[in-house]
Amino acid sequence: MEILVCVKRVPDTAENEIAIKSDGTDIQRDDLVYSVNEWDNYAVEEAIQIRDKVGGSVTVVTVGDSEAEEVLRRQMAMGADNGILLADDAFEGSDGRGIAAILKAVVAKGKYDLVLTGAQADDGAAQVGGMLAAMLDWPYASLVNKIDTGDKSLKIGREIEGGNQEMNEIDLPCVLSIQTGINEPRYVGIRGIRKVASIEIPTYAAADLGVAADAVGPAAARVKRVDYFTPEMGAGAEILEGSMEEKIDKLIELLKAKGGLK
């Protein structure tokens, strides 16, 4: 099976405190720790496991700047066979539709049976996979947490509310967005990354892909971020101050009052 996995380099929310610049144009990006989007890491692991079972190859692709190459290398160290970087100044400021249009062009250049994305990325939109599928006119399923491979179709499980699972049969080729927990992504060490350090990663720009420059980027975007802002909070939590000892004493008092402690 020829599998394409779409991956994105994102600020790691588990590692960073996100602060907004005072003018609201962006978050403060100096000193941010970046990594591969959590969901995409599961998608790559799943692709590798499918390839190891039924044969074929795994290609990882990202739309980003030159720094995004590091996530491609990391996923290749995990076991992806090929990486493709899609980079062009014209891509910057694309909305989800724009990113999907760029990815569609790269799908069209290859011969893939299966395209995987993460369920969602850093801005929580959960949109690119579904848009890409619609542009390709391929069937789509989101939040996939189980894949059984077959010849012309897959049997998949989708996570739905309450942790229940919606089982579906879906024809190939298709696009699936992958939910966390579907597998246990393998660990990637420094040595693994060194091994793939010298592999050539092709970079394609808009012209190479046949993407019209005005179909992507801010001009084509129908949803635009106006600003980042800090909302006016309601009351919010009462923050306990003092030494840890004092906080613990106060908390125990409160817990007793609320029935949390006998």
């Binding site: 848009m131 996570e159 229940n164 699972q165 106006v226 802002f229 908390l251 949390g260």
Partner: protein
Amino acid sequence: MAQIFAYITHKGGAVDDTAAELAAAAQKIDAAAQVTAIVVGAGADLDAACQGAAKLFAQVWKFDNAALAYPNGEVVRKLLSQVVPAGSILLVPHDTFGMDMAPGLSIKLDAAYAADVVAIESLSGTELKVVRQEFAGMAHTHIAVDIAKGAVLTLRPGSFQPEKGAELAGTVSDKSGDAGDLGTKRRYLETVEAEMGDVDITKADVLVSVGRGIEDQDNIGVAEELAEAMGAVVSCSRPIVDAKWLEKSRQVGTSGKTVKPKVYLAMGISGSFQHLGGIKGSPFIVAVNKNPKAPIFQVADIGIVENILEFMPALTEKISG
């Protein structure tokens, strides 16, 4: 003004709580709008659901078709791309169905798409201004949506306050005949229910709930000791289950269990909406987090900025005396 539609999810003949939220959101876009609810399915439950929707919306379009007996994202997208007029605004809940169906529909309708909207600010001309969140709720954004060619919006469940009181008597129209071919390349097979675990966290009065802040599997014991000292039960956020450190049955949230404790201790949990969606009945929430800006502090009653790996053992020791 663009025509506004709301896609209604329903179960066992009852419309989902989100239906009233979509109605409230539609009023925010246009207070004078005559909103049309779209209700799909097959059989008797569908009629009951349409009656429910008619109490919230001026018009209800009913689509009855065997292919819609289990309305999965693929078949509903195919239907809606046939029947929603170009240029409309369509509201859909941002739940596991909406995430599945809506992004692709926006492409098929050639409409703008805004996902997981938490507030609607204003409409001027063809620019609809909405609020979203990024980075797991750590940053809020204003988004301008160009609705010139229509728009599909998914709305975060629980974000729009339904209006109390006024019940409408909407008209239900059977539009089933407008549906064309509904064959798809994805077929629903069955629903597999989540497994029951060894403990039932939904019955606990006090939960010590751990999140990614617990950092390592070996530290789970620290939470178990605290829970034992308090006579509480250990629950957790999703990453702890994904890592297989605790059983799925201990997960609180939209894709886990819905809990109603008296006291909820959120230990190293950031406060994503999917996690908070599993906490009902407004318990007394205590959040301990090392990041003073963690979103959980917006909803907690008591906030403590500390390292849980130091705080929990110290609290256990004090309680055990």
